[in-house]
Symmetry: C2
Subunit: 343 residues, 2 copies
DNA sequence: AGGGTCTATGTAACCGCTTACGGTGGAAAC
DNA sequence: GTTTCCACCGTAAGCGGTTACATAGACCCT
């Protein structure tokens, strides 16, 4: 590994000049600059990031908080990969890397899990991370508040947080839900139920507002018994649907706040001997992969999943370079009409 | 941020002693050790990883090579999340973190993509990474050879590579495929076709061997026209199935080398007016999420997906601490019987 | 000619930790 | 009573960069 010193010697300049060539090129004479660059290339010079980080107190990495040893280890994030794709590509553009922080069992006894956000914050300092991206892999959104308050720049994905250097990216959940209900209404449905996420969860609550708005718009009554809450995962959608179908006047259409729950609803409907969409119309939310492969294919409100990653990366970078808090980012949704509504 | 020096001063010892407390505790007197530890805790001391890496030339990170700006940006890894879960948890146990390397657009013009493996290798040196985990996100397995030859410790997931410090983890594909065929045979099928991955791809080739073995075992003839190759992705499974169904004597059962292709096959069968499993039995490979949600649910050969991650992490750690090359790891598979075979 | 400016570069301190080497004191060995 | 050894700890030299400050020369102006 060639070092800056070697380049300096070969070029007959000082290490300071070599450093300047890479960090403030404009301050060094064009001729020397090119000489240094040429030699650097010949030697295959790679700046030592540890040294750089040590002296600048800034690494080119941002941390990813994604807790996997969760209460329910079988839980999966519905679209982690898309998120990562977006994150990574946007971060790359700034020369930044994503560090997936270890969550436990650190040999030096310094743990890091959502139960102990301090652990992550410590890691952030140890590695001089520029900030943290928070990905919710369950319903422990509350824990994110601790991060937001810690002072390290962080942006949460699809979870509303607030703090001195914290922000979040989310979809326009209200209008997404609204478009779903409008679609259902346009197909003639008037008994439209919804399966929500955990109460208190921001995106879920917003989707409920959108749902209410849609009913209002259509002049339909809001019925408490048509709103049943789940946890975004499949089983809860199944259970919720069973409850809905047991109602005296069961709904003819269901808007689920996630595709996973919509699939659960589909299964429940099938188990109850109902045909989808003839007997029960279904709309989901997310547009994850399985939405297009279940039968009937799911009509759903698509989120810009890689867009989340891109927006998160941009927000983090803005906070790093800018300093202050960033505005939350709200991404548009798009209704994807498939077969589960019989349109 | 408290530094080692501060602790040293407060404890009336030298920084060397503080360092020893954390790195070679047995060489320091118990009393002083505890004093240092106590003060360190009070100050919330976090060792500076950059400084440590700088002086030891070893970070506690390993790199992840997962190329996303691929020729086909819409491609997704079928079970990335499970892989990451396994990787992360096993790495955590050693106090290591996973660094997702940027793939392009580095501000300093030092790119890294599979087209330029050198870029990744450079990153490895810059950050003093312990090694690289290679994840195949397409069919560019060939590119992995360059990594394997580069001398940096690396382990590939489900791609056979070889090099001075390279190894890989894979499933026992032969017996996995064998169990699939046996299952089909046991159900009375004698016209069994297979849809393979890319020819030359190691796991795919192994699955073909397992397939042949299964036919032999059952005394069934091997027919060239019953072997058609795909690329592991859905569309290719669909196309392959169309070809199979167009045969004079079409198969009554198909073993697809991936679930995605099996789903493609399912769609093709449905489009051709065939019922699954009555008219065509289907077995997949992987046991990804959609396998259980398609209708009929897919019988498939399950791979230990988080196990890949765990094994990869262990292999990397072994290479880092041990030095030499590790043996490839072969994980067992498990036949998951669902409804696509009508058993 | 002397002073002021500006550009290009060198000098050296510093970032925080690790570690080879050496020193000290007391116990054990002779 | 030396010598030897060992446990414990301090000194100081790195690791490879960054950057404040100093310096040297070129150029311009009065």
């Amino acid at each position: 590994m060639a070092t800056g010193r070697e380049i300096a010697q070969l070029c007959g300049v000082s290490v300071a000049t070599v450093s300047r060539v890479f960090n403030q090129p404009e301050t060094v004479n064009e001729e020397t600059r090119e000489r240094v660059l040429r030699v650097a290339k010949e030697l295959g010079y790679q700046p030592n990031e540890s040294a750089r980080a040590l002296s600048t107190k800034q690494s080119t990495m941002i941390g990813l908080v994604w807790d996997t040893d969760h209460r329910r280890p079988d839980w999966r994030h519905p679209y982690l990969q898309d998120l990562l794709i977006g994150l990574k590509s946007a971060l790359s553009a700034h020369g930044y890397h994503l560090l997936m922080l270890a969550t436990s069992g650190d040999a030096r006894e310094i743990g890091a899990s959502l139960a102990d956000p301090v652990g992550y914050v410590n890691m952030t300092r140890r590695h001089h991370l520029g900030g943290l991206v928070l990905i919710d892999s369950g319903s422990d959104a509350e824990a994110f508040e601790a991060f937001a308050q810690s002072g390290v720049p962080c942006v949460a994905v699809d979870v509303a947080v607030d703090g001195p250097k914290a922000t979040y990216v989310t979809s326009d959940n209200v209008s997404g839900a609204l478009s779903a209900v409008r679609h259902l209404v346009s197909l003639g449905h008037s008994r439209i139920a919804t399966i929500t996420g955990p109460v208190g969860n921001q995106p879920s609550d917003a989707r409920v507002s959108g749902y209410r708005k849609g009913l209002q718009e259509a002049g339909l009554p809001f019925r408490d018994e048509y709103v049943v809450s789940g946890d975004f995962y499949r089983a809860s959608g199944n259970a919720a649907t069973q409850r809905l179908l047991a109602l005296d006047e069961p709904p003819t259409a269901v808007f689920a706040a996630s595709d996973e729950m919509a699939v659960g609803a589909l299964l429940a409907a099938r188990a109850a001997g109902l045909r989808v969409p003839q007997d029960l119309a279904l709309v989901g939310f997310d547009d994850i992969e399985i939405a297009s492969v279940v039968d009937p294919a799911l009509t759903t409100v698509a989120q810009d999943k890689p867009g989340f990653g891109v927006a998160a990366a941009k927000a983090i970078m803005a906070m790093i370079t800018g300093g202050g808090r960033e505005q939350p980012v709200v991404l548009p949704t798009r209704l994807v009409v498939r077969n589960s509504c019989g349109s």
